[in-house]
């Protein structure tokens, strides 16, 4: 029963990792941009939520109504104003520029909020849980997180494959020049993709921040979890990303169970194992 519990907790945490990964994989898929600052945007969203909850006295989950559109707007402006200029045949310029953004965001947050650990207060929700079987209890908050992750992945999947919006994303990803010939403004499409990515980041950041302490320096580790979930699941497959997040979450939970110091190590080992055995990921996108 103890092990069942461990695995269930790991699966639930995996949902959060999948959300980190979804935003990352989305922009890589649409514009071949590797966003090194992705983790720092997660932290930025958490701090934005902190400011909103403290100044307006809102519940953290209610603050999403403000934080999600705000992050999306930041994403669009950032893409149009800065990142579009770095895109081209070379993958290096966007990598360097987002690395620079990562440094700027971390230090900006450090300057404004100090290095103190913070947390969003969600009241009774934080500790609420129910027992599904003897010895296996599920926290309401982790479950909410997981459900949100599944909903986000499902919504992105539907958006990509069922709407004109998603069609534009896929077409631009396939062939940006021909996408222009059918009237798609690449710069705008990329802006929308980044807005969507940072909207997902906002949700993930706030859910992270009600469950765990955060400080300005935790971004890069979230980026790594996101990367690992993407690679384990297989690049370009959203449901695979969810599976990747779960594999990572479960591996970390098992590691932590064996020895509290092995949590991160176990996650990285699981990632390396997948990379060694199935480098294309567990569920690679099948392309005709």
């Amino acid at each position: 029963m103890e092990w069942t519990n461990t695995i269930v907790q790991g699966v639930l945490t995996g949902g959060l990792y999948a959300m980190f990964a979804a935003g990352l994989s989305l922009i890589f898929g649409v514009m071949r941009l590797v966003n090194i600052a992705h983790g720092d945007f997660i932290v930025l969203a958490a701090y934005l939520a902190l400011v909103v909850t403290e100044t307006l006295g809102l519940d953290p989950l209610v603050s999403l109504v403000i934080v999600i559109p705000l992050m999306a707007a930041i994403g669009y402006a950032l893409q149009r104003g800065l990142l579009n200029r770095t895109l081209g045949d070379d993958l290096l310029p966007p990598l360097l520029v987002t690395f620079g953004l990562s440094v700027i965001i971390q230090n900006g947050l450090l300057e404004l909020f100090t290095a103190d650990s913070r947390r969003l207060q969600a009241g009774a929700l934080e500790v609420a849980s129910f027992e599904v079987a003897r010895g296996v209890s599920i926290g309401v908050l982790p479950l909410l997180q997981f459900v949100a992750a599944v909903a986000v992945i499902g919504a992105l999947q539907a958006l990509f494959y069922r709407t004109a919006f998603g069609r534009a994303f896929r077409a631009t990803s396939d062939d940006p020049a021909v996408a222009r010939l059918v009237g798609l403004d690449n710069a705008h499409v990329f802006g929308l993709a980044m807005a969507l990515s940072l909207a997902v980041v906002a949700l993930a950041g706030v859910l992270l921040a009600v469950r765990a302490n955060f400080d300005p320096a935790i971004g890069p580790a979230r980026l790594i979890f996101g990367f690992e979930a993407v690679i384990i699941g297989g690049l370009g497959n959203l449901w695979g990303t969810l599976a990747g997040g779960i594999v990572l979450g479960v591996a970390q939970a098992i590691g932590a169970k064996l020895d509290p110091g092995w949590q991160l190590l176990a996650g990285h080992l699981a990632f390396l194992l997948v990379l060694a055995v199935k480098p294309e990921g567990l569920f690679p996108r099948i392309r005709a």
Partner: protein, 238 residues
């Protein structure tokens, strides 16, 4: 010879184009009238595709070097030019591989320009596509891919359709089949520019012809005046 000034749908005036240090077009002037079919022929590397890319906005040009429907459009980006009614069928078809056949057509019409062409009418023009609507575009034969690429461009309801090497890599019977549909397109008020290496096919379909040689117009005239000797002279220089 070229239309009287002011009446042409498309007027390319003294267009130069370059790729870095390499100049691909020198002082090229062509015009296309309303509902006219114009062929542009020439050897490999003569600048035919470059000319179409400039008109479609994929390559930058001087603002007044390209005048469409009375307005200078040389400096507009491609997505603004298609909104004005110029669609390009790119060389090599270039369908979107992760989109189905139908999605490829739908995205061609995503600007919502009003006009004759709708999904249903594209399927009437190319019944082979209707059968394969749900398949990924990569599952089509070469000829069907070319039909889909034409359909995608038509979905924008263009007043000027630019076709870059639509016969490339296709069997003669398939080429004839595709060329047989072009009059139905012109009948809806669309002008055509056909860039071809297959000279006989292009001359048969067009009213007027321009021959490019090393980035310059080497011959311009009515298609029926383009005798074998005239074309050979323009192709290879004399």
């Amino acid at each position: 010879m070229p239309d009287p000034a002011g009446d042409a749908l498309l007027d390319v005036r003294a267009l130069d184009a370059r790729y870095g240090d390499f100049q691909a077009l020198f002082d090229v002037s062509i015009s296309v009238g309303r509902r006219e079919v114009v062929a542009i022929i020439g050897a490999n590397g003569a600048g035919k595709s470059t000319l179409l890319k400039c008109v479609a906005g994929l390559m930058p040009a001087r603002r007044d070097a390209i005048v469409f429907d009375g307005a200078p459009i040389g400096d507009l980006p491609a997505h603004r030019i298609v909104a004005r009614g110029i669609a390009l069928v790119p060389e090599g078809r270039r369908l979107f591989p992760s989109l189905s056949v139908e999605e490829n057509l739908l995205i061609g019409g995503q600007l919502g320009r009003p006009g004759f062409w709708t999904l249903a009418r594209i399927y009437e023009l190319f019944p082979a596509l209707a059968v394969r609507a749900r398949l990924p575009s990569t599952a089509l034969s070469g000829g069907e891919q070319q039909m889909a690429a034409l359909g995608r461009a038509l979905m924008a309801n263009p007043t000027l359709l630019l076709c870059d090497e639509i016969s490339l890599g296709l069997a003669p019977i398939v080429i004839r089949d595709i060329y047989a549909r072009l009059p139905a397109i012109v009948a809806q008020g669309t002008s055509l520019v056909i860039v071809e290496q297959d000279i006989a096919q292009a001359l048969a379909a067009a009213a007027r012809v321009y021959c490019l040689q090393e980035g310059r117009v080497a011959f311009a005239g009515a298609a029926r005046d383009a005798t074998r000797e005239a074309v050979a002279a323009a192709y290879f220089g004399t």
